[in-house]
Symmetry: C2
Subunit: 676 residues, 2 copies
């Protein structure tokens, strides 16, 4: 390319001190900021039930497999990703969710932790793992029967056969019920005919379809004996052992994407492809030996949603991956802001570190606080996923609540990731734009988390619909609004979600109510009641609005006219769920010093949310003008209080320094003026 | 890569209708939405003084040069960019800002329009053009003398010699005054010695330094006869005609970036490189034949800021480029939202187009309205730039106001671009993530606009400081707050900026004041007074806070503690400037139908800003709770009213369809279900 020096940084033209190694640099920084091993203790406090699994993986996964050279071309990146995944799997980074009989741990919570841990590294590897083990393997595990477990899973678990998950079609992304691919049962040959009847029915964006997948879990409309039974899933071989497409299968490559260069997304269409009947994943609905459709679940709609319930794990995984991406970006940007100095100021030795500027603190520190909140919320949902999975009796209400929260948490954390990574990129200036510093690659890769496993807007609607139907079912649908009001009144004037009331929440809220406004700004009970009250009011007025609207217009028009209100209901619900998880995490923490830091972070997180919704709180008479201003002042103060421990805070986020893949953090300090 | 079909979309497996061409598709859409040639008339109304220049360029610039294949490797992209720039220059896309004597037009306003027009295409070409013609050529033109114009400019204008702009150093980005590169005058040989004394003084991120640049405009600390004179600029040859680095010059390549693959950013360091004295760009300060430093400007600081004043054009260019990027993203996402349908609904023929969903409207339509606002604000500043350039007498106050606005508009439009392009990407779902659809490349390329030509946070501080010092100078600095209050009271109780009062603003505000609150929601005067009042109050309280703080702490501590307030002052100032430019643009529009559409867009833009700051307006008693809710309802209503003309609105944004470079917009409609 150039005819001169190819180094990324010019050779120094004067004598310089020896560059400090990465570890030394951190120690040096810690020297300035030190409060002991607080970072480790913070990480411990946020580990939850799977804390030890996480710590073991942090030690076991090889550093070189967790960082990818951003300059690889797409073909090189695909090859590297393929190999990196195999290496990580050899180190135990996948497979926890498979049945014990097949050598798994039957621990679906831990399978999300597996995904989370790989996402500390290169996200192409993570997504590649998620598609193969999580989506394909998960579909076979959850929707298949014993035969599928015994015959399909072993080569999947060993990666001798790569699977893909063929749900999305050109014409149908969010609207899965309208998929056009047909799965038609032919009783004469006892086969299913898989077919793409229109151009818009071709599968697209399917991870691993372009190169690696030998077999696909194909979503389509099942027809048996001329009767439609809605969306089902069938396993269809795609390629022979040489990688050639099988007869009737047309495969394409989606080409370059906005990121995830190592993932081979592709297109698939089927021309009357026949597979034996047993390839149908028939746990919730199948075809018996007489060629009749059989299902334990009555109603296509109910069966459809039960089958889609298997998406819950994928959504938790994506939420975890997005949360890790935010933590990684914040770790990079905060460490940089401690090293990088710009502009001198009176009373400052040398130029001022970026993190000493209030505006810079406000970019990073509240986001760190929210990252802690998300860690606790994710721990809780992963543990809940496994608890419900283990439970001998299926609890339908709890299952639906889990699905709602998984959808909501996915939307929340992926929105947060896209916003936060961008803030971090900009906070590192020109250095942030260099690929070798890790932020642009991270942003490009994490971006699509907002879309896959469910578009965020669609998922938030799902959350709101879940909340509305909970009430409807619980109280009947004659007068939804009255019922919501009754539910609210019935628990001491405070709204508490029926299925997940936590004793300490009520206690803290009640305690806050006895204090005067001037005392309560930093009071957890006040935060909790603000969040709960906002949620209750938004949901109650939404229910009322929809009920009234339904008398005047069709349901689409009514719902659509309130769509911003619907999305607000979902968000405020999830905000409350996340804050309560944070508070529960603090309640469980026994390390006093750590607890104190977490309390401060929780306050900063809560006040930031209240500040962001200041307009709502004031227009609904939940907050005075004076208090609104006090909230902003308190946030600034908290940022200043937390700033000296910033390095500990990001160490507590748990991303090992060697996995940050950011050249500017290991470059010698000498690049920064004012540092000897 | 794959052994099977390489097509991006699978071959259709059934008979299909012939694909509609891009133009036909648009006509088809227009058929559904038609209100005539409104798009053209909107474009005309937003063209301003340079409207015809813009229209001519839209017709002249060759389509194939305006779109880049996103799959090119970095070396290919650099080569393509180089050639594309030459082609665009042959079609007249650069050079307007050069002196008439050298064959330019001496029209710096038009030079910004040149930049704006190239940015409709590939942004690497734009940036490459901006570095060479704008930054390097602009520095020679503005900071050089007749000799430089005659000897340096001709090979620059013909592109026989490529220049680069070597300001940023590893250790010094925003803090230009602290650059470490030394420019030391050696009286014995009548030369300047250019030197990089430390590793942190090496130049970095310099566009064209890695491969193409033969000569650099180098910023460094001038020392003459042992005395320091602050930052000056000297021209330094970098490479010989074969592209080899000259003795003493070490060049490096910054490698892969977050985008702008076609731009060869690199590093430069100097080891005692000697150049003749005349290479100093000495318009504001130089060395005479006796080897003495001479300058017409007293004081290093004042001279420094005068020289940096030449950055104003670059900032306006970046603002224009960012604004075009937003317009392009909105054009793509809106056109897609008209084609793409998802979920069926009662009363809808086939599935519902995305743009019929309220949430989707709220993602795109207010952003379209703000894009119109930015177009008018940019027209105004480009015209102002040229007016001041042409004026026989230099108006220092007007010049400083221009610099303040350029900095502010750059920060505003680049923030808006990063947010908006991301919203558009997500609004197009999985398709939005495919590189061939144009959004991810656009976002990756435009991203760094937030950083270069001044980090946004630093620029907003500059704006606030400019506003504060205006008052200080105008009224003396004994009691800044009292003066601000006096200034506000002195103009009929309304704050009007002294240098740019517009008669219609006062008239509209006065008219609104006579109406009752219930009538004024859609009243322009109310919007204007809300914006002006917000700005006045924020600035007044900031001045007061800083004055009080200065008694208690050092200036850094005081200013830093108020940094969020400082940034708010800058933003609210710019919001007011932009809204007034929008209103002025409407006042100038003679097409009644177009005016009506623009009025609606201006209302949507204004209400969206008020809604976003709802917390502030309520906590400062500028808006009641009832009104806050009414604002949200009005925004929803306006989105619905503007939706039928959405295609016209994006056509009015002026990005030719052939330049959108988005495969999904030209793909046959058959990919969308529900469209015959």
């Amino acid at each position: 390319m150039t005819t001169q020096s190819q180094t990324h940084v010019p050779e120094p033209s004067t004598d310089i001190e020896m560059p400090a190694a990465a570890g030394e640099a951190a120690t040096q920084l810690r020297g300035q900021e030190a409060i002991g091993d607080l970072g480790d203790r913070l990480r411990h406090a946020t580990g939850g039930r799977y804390g030890q699994v996480r710590d073991l993986a942090r030690a076991a996964l090889p550093d070189e497999t967790m960082v990818r050279d951003p300059e690889l071309t797409v073909p090189e990146a695909r090859e590297w990703t393929r190999n990196a995944l195999r290496t990580l799997v050899e180190h135990g980074a996948a497979g926890s969710g498979f049945p014990i009989a097949q050598g798994g741990l039957d621990d679906v919570g831990r399978s999300c932790v597996d995904f989370e841990l790989t996402s500390h590294g290169d996200l192409s590897v993570t997504v590649k793992s998620g598609v193969h083990f999580g989506l394909f393997g998960g579909a076979v595990t959850s929707l298949g029967n014993q035969w599928h477990h015994e015959h399909i899973l072993p080569p999947i678990m060993s990666m001798d056969q790569i699977g893909c998950y063929a749900m999305t079609e050109f014409g149908h992304g969010s609207d899965v019920a309208s998929l056009e691919t047909t799965l038609t049962y032919d009783g004469e040959t006892d086969e299913l005919i898989v077919h793409s009847p229109t151009p818009s029915s071709a599968k697209t964006y399917i991870g691993a379809a372009a190169e690696d997948a030998r077999i696909a879990a194909v979503y389509g409309q099942l027809e048996v004996g001329g009767q439609a039974h809605g969306v089902h899933v069938v396993l269809v071989p795609l390629r022979d052992p040489d990688g050639q497409a099988l007869p009737g299968v047309t495969l394409g490559d989606n080409g370059l994407k906005g990121g995830l260069d190592g993932v081979d997304n592709g297109t698939i269409s089927f021309e009357q492809v026949r597979v034996p009947r047993r390839m149908l994943l028939d746990r919730y609905g199948g075809i018996d030996d007489e060629g009749r459709y059989v299902s334990e679940i009555d109603g296509d709609n109910k069966r459809f949603f039960t089958m889609l319930g298997t998406l819950v794990r994928g959504r938790i995984c994506v939420a975890a991956g997005a949360a890790v991406s935010s933590r990684k970006a914040l770790s990079i940007a905060t460490r940089y802001a401690l090293r990088r100095r710009q502009f001198s100021a009176p009373g400052h030795d040398g130029a001022v570190p970026l993190l000493d500027y209030l505006a810079h603190q406000r970019k990073l520190i509240p986001a760190i606080a929210t990252s802690y909140a998300h860690m606790f919320a994710l721990n809780e949902i992963m543990e809940r996923l496994q608890d419900l999975h283990e439970a001998p009796e299926k609890d339908q209400v709890a299952q639906r609540e889990l699905e709602t929260r998984a959808a909501g948490l996915k939307a929340l954390t992926t929105r947060f990731a896209n916003d936060t990574i961008q803030v971090c990129r900009e906070a590192c200036g020109g250095a942030g734009y260099m690929a070798e510093n890790g932020l642009t690659v991270l942003r490009a890769d994490a971006d699509v988390f907002a879309t896959f496993e469910g578009d965020n807007t669609v998922l938030l609607q799902l959350v709101a619909k879940g909340l509305l139907s909970d009430y409807q079912e619980m109280w009947g649908d004659l007068d939804m609004r009255g019922m919501v009001q009754f539910a609210a009144r019935s628990i001491g004037g405070q709204f508490v979600e029926a299925t997940a009331a936590r004793p300490f929440v009520s206690r803290l809220i009640a305690a806050a109510a006895r204090r005067s406004e001037s005392e309560t700004l930093l009071d957890r009970g006040w935060h909790l009641s603000m969040f709960a009250d906002r949620e209750r009011h938004v949901l109650e007025t939404l229910a009322n609005r929809l009920r009234k609207g339904a008398k005047e217009a069709d349901s689409f028009t009514t719902f659509n006219a309130a769509q911003d209100h619907v999305l607000l209901a979902a968000r405020t619900h999830m905000d409350r769920v996340v804050l309560e998880a944070f508070v529960a995490g603090i309640e469980a923490c026994e390390d006093e010093e750590v607890r104190e830091v977490l309390e401060r972070l929780a306050t900063l997180h809560a006040l930031s949310s209240i500040e962001a919704d200041s307009g709502w709180f004031q227009s609904h008479n939940r907050m005075s003008a004076t208090r609104a201003k006090a909230v902003t002042a308190a946030i600034n103060r908290l940022c200043g209080e937390l700033r000296p421990g910033a390095l500990d805070l990001v160490e507590g986020l748990g991303v090992p320094e060697a996995w940050l893949n950011s050249a500017m953090l290991t470059a010698p300090q000498r690049w920064t003026p004012g540092v000897a």
